[in-house]
């Protein structure tokens, strides 16, 4: 689709550095890119969904997602009450999915909170923190290096500094919110901008889950027959 994007960029003579995708396009592209990067189908779905969540809240969805798809995978995390253990920094996406899965269990935030530990690209964890808040029907604070980074209300709505963005690595704690959110709720938007470079990288990853056409497959799909009726 890059050719289409470049052609569209010439539309009206505007030289844009960013591509604007619809949210379904964000989902489809990231799902395929994650699968192309070797994620399981389940985590590829989570990755696409997380990208949509970030885009829908006006956040830079591609930088951290790409970092997760192309960087080191992160250590294996072992959930436990109040403090999770690992042999190093964990992946923001995988730790996030585990947080959402264990949200209502003793290993979740509970009433005392939980220390996730060092997390790579922790922005990727926020969509899952929203799910944890919804699942537990409780307000949660996400602490980054012991400072409040983002808050979630009981219905999973995120409150954060509008400038919230890429952090390569950080110490993450999830705690029941001590008070009402100090930030405004981020607004919902219906599209996601991505730099051309990031877009090209995601497309390259996505292509590695596709299969080249064969004469046999094209013929069966209808190419061998005339459509002139």
């Amino acid at each position: 689709m890059m050719a289409a994007v470049e052609a569209a960029d010439q539309d009206g003579g505007v030289d844009r550095a960013f591509v604007v995708l619809s949210l379904p396009e964000v989902n489809a592209l990231v799902l395929r890119a994650a699968r192309g990067a070797g994620f399981t189908w389940g985590m590829a779905e989570e990755c696409g969904n997380a990208a949509v969540w970030l885009a829908a809240h006006g956040l830079d969805w591609s930088t951290d997602i790409l970092a997760r798809l192309t960087g080191e995978g992160g250590a294996r995390v072992v959930p436990a009450a109040t403090k999770w253990t690992s042999n190093g920094a964990v992946c923001g996406l995988h730790a996030g999915a585990t947080l959402a899965d264990f949200a209502t269990l003793p290993e979740g935030p509970g009433s005392n909170g939980v220390r996730i530990g060092l997390v790579n690209d922790p922005l990727c964890l926020l969509p899952f923190a929203a799910r944890a808040a919804k699942a537990t029907q409780s307000s949660l604070d996400v602490m980054l290096d012991d400072d409040l980074w983002a808050s979630f209300d009981k219905i999973g709505r995120v409150h954060a500094d509008a400038k919230i963005g890429h952090i390569a690595i950080g110490l993450i704690d999830i705690r029941p919110a001590a008070k009402a959110p100090s930030f405004s709720a981020l607004l919902n938007v219906q599209s996601g901008a991505v730099s051309k470079a990031a877009y090209a990288s995601l497309e390259t990853l996505a292509l590695s889950m596709t299969v080249p056409a064969t004469a046999q497959s094209q013929a069966r799909a209808g190419a061998a027959q005339s459509d002139n009726d």
Partner: protein, 559 residues
């Protein structure tokens, strides 16, 4: 999940078909359009709300090159079909898979486009996938002429005579769409962003409106070209001939996985249809008006079955079943059925289960709904689904609970040995060239390691096996952490609980799979008719044949 609590016919619950009987492709692949099909829902709404239609732009040359705008004005919102006509050399029309140019291209604009919008669309719409549209557009589409028929109609009208009625009936359309993209494709507005509008809340309403307006455009274009060619001698197309024209459509494998990827939608579509049938069967008595309407529908179905052409061996056999079955049905209705008896529609249905082939049984379903709009049309509100809301996995659910949910909807999946070559003969994948779903032969073609997760039966069987190794009281979160390969299926089991019509209960990897069955199921819900498979993987259909045109909508009966 169920419309039962709101049903005006609470006893319908006793007349529902068993999902285990309904959800096989041997039945789903024989689906017929009904009054709950999406194009009927669109037409009824526009009629009820008194929509107005205008054509503010129609600027074409004698070859059909130019642009047009058709506006459909509802109570709160206007939608505009922007159409571009092109002069396509015949050799560029010959291949539907790698096509890069078309006779006509379209976008459905949200509102009324201004000159700048039209110029932007003129740069992007004609190149389709190679361009970009914006959130101001709801659909992107293209169509090719039916070469023989289009030229024949233009030449006839230009000469002052009507085209050959038999030729029109045989093809049934002047143009055939090769894609109608919606919901966020190529930059268009997503369904989620417009789903709050009542007029587009039901499935595929923007796509149906697009195709309906394209139908009008195709007739306007042949009449315009005939006038250019014939001058004062030219005549307009006879209204009766015009009425029988629809819009053709070629649909391939790209559409097939939709039903698998959207289990909640599939559940709602089938549940609505089944609930509608059950409400009719539950009626204790009927009246002359309904009997008359049913007989009229049966006559129309008999005519339609005669006009339905196909060369595909599978459909030839099915068509024979349909024709003979409808004749048998008409004989029974005329001679043996007692419409004054108790639960007359149920009597008819039960007789059909014993006496008619599946193809005719499913046709009867559609016929039974026709005279009962007052009972069933409200079900159209239950067709949509917010699948994003059901995406979250409940990791606190226990293994025992998950297993119990599996028993509701996935017991069928355990009956197959997926290691047998016959049962895993195919694999679904995304093609590199078109980024479209395709079906490969696992043991003949490369790419099996990159297959799509459409193997629902195989995944369900694997999850069953994994759950058996775990204690019933263990939370599912532990399974997901230790065996992440089961994540998609665990999500799916939770998503489909209490949704008994969510799954096609067949092995979609089997050598016996006929993808055209999946296509027909979906297309029937659109309202498509006269399915004409061109192989086991793609099918031609027609939409809106014998439906009203915009200027006829307000006085149309029986929508």
């Amino acid at each position: 999940m169920t419309c039962a609590p709101l049903s005006p016919v609470p006893e319908a619950v006793n007349y529902r078909r068993n999902p285990a009987d309904v959800m096989h492709l041997s039945r789903l692949g024989l689906s017929h359009p009904t009054r709950l099909s999406f194009l009927r829902i669109l037409l009824r709404r526009m009629q009820t709300e008194g929509w107005q239609f205008e054509r503010p732009v129609f600027d074409f040359d004698a070859k059909g090159v130019g642009r047009a705008v058709y506006c459909a004005k509802g109570p709160t919102q206007t939608y505009s079909l922007v159409a571009f006509g092109h002069d396509l050399p015949p050799d560029m029309r010959s291949d539907r898979v790698i096509a890069t140019a078309w006779d006509a291209t379209f976008a459905l604009f949200d509102g009324i486009p201004d000159a700048a919008d039209l110029d932007r669309l003129a740069r992007n719409v004609p190149v389709q996938e190679a361009g970009r549209v914006t959130a101001k557009e709801l659909t992107l589409s293209r169509a090719n002429r039916s070469v023989r028929l289009f030229e024949h109609v233009v030449q006839s009208l230009a000469s002052g005579i009507q085209p050959d009625a038999a030729a029109l009936a045989e093809t049934g359309y002047l143009m055939r769409t090769t894609a109608v993209y919606g919901s966020g494709k190529f930059g268009a507005a997503s369904y989620a962003s417009i789903a709050h509008r009542p007029e587009v809340a039901a499935p595929f309403q923007a796509e149906m409106l697009t195709v309906w307006l394209i139908r009008t455009f195709t007739v306007d274009l042949v009449e315009h070209m005939a006038r250019c060619r014939g001058g004062d001698v030219a005549v307009p197309l006879d209204p009766a001939l015009k009425r029988g024209l629809g819009v053709g459509n070629s649909t391939g494998l790209g559409m097939a996985p939709f039903l698998v990827r959207h289990p909640m939608l599939l559940n709602n579509w089938i549940m609505v249809r089944e609930e509608a049938l059950a409400r009719v069967r539950a009626q204790t008595v009927t009246d002359d008006t309904r009997i008359g309407a049913f007989n009229a529908s049966l006559d129309a179905a008999l005519d339609n079955a005669q006009l339905w052409n196909t060369m595909h061996p599978v459909q030839i056999d099915r068509l024979a079943d349909l024709r003979s079955g409808l004749v048998t049905l008409a004989q029974f209705v005329g001679q043996a059925w007692d419409p004054r008896g108790q639960r007359p529609w149920n009597t008819l249905w039960l007789w059909a289960q014993e006496s008619l082939p599946f193809e005719a049984q499913e046709a009867l379903l559609a016929l039974l709904l026709e005279p009962h709009g007052d009972l069933v049309d409200g079900l159209s509100e239950c067709l949509s689904s917010d699948e994003a809301e059901a995406f979250d996995i409940d990791g606190g659910m226990t293994v025992g609970e998950l297993r119990a949910h599996m028993a509701e909807n996935y017991a069928w999946a355990r009956a197959c040995d997926y290691d047998k070559q016959h049962e895993c003969a195919r694999f679904w994948y995304v093609s590199e060239d078109k980024l479209e779903p395709r079906l490969g032969e696992r043991f003949d073609e490369p790419g099996g390691e990159r297959e799509l997760p459409l193997d629902i039966g195989r995944q369900a069987a694997a999850l069953y096996a994994a759950l058996e190794q775990r204690p019933n009281d263990q939370p599912v979160a532990h399974l997901l952490l230790q065996e992440p390969v089961h994540r998609p299926m665990a999500r799916r089991v939770q998503m489909t609980r209490a949704r008994p019509f969510a799954e096609i209960r067949d092995n979609l990897l089997s050598a016996d799979l006929l993808p055209i069955d999946m296509l027909r199921c979906k297309l029937a819900f659109f309202g498509a008719n006269r399915f004409d498979p061109r192989s086991d993987r793609w099918v031609r259909i027609s939409l809106f044949q014998n439906c009203p045109y915009p200027h006829e909508l307000s006085v149309e009966m029986g929508l």
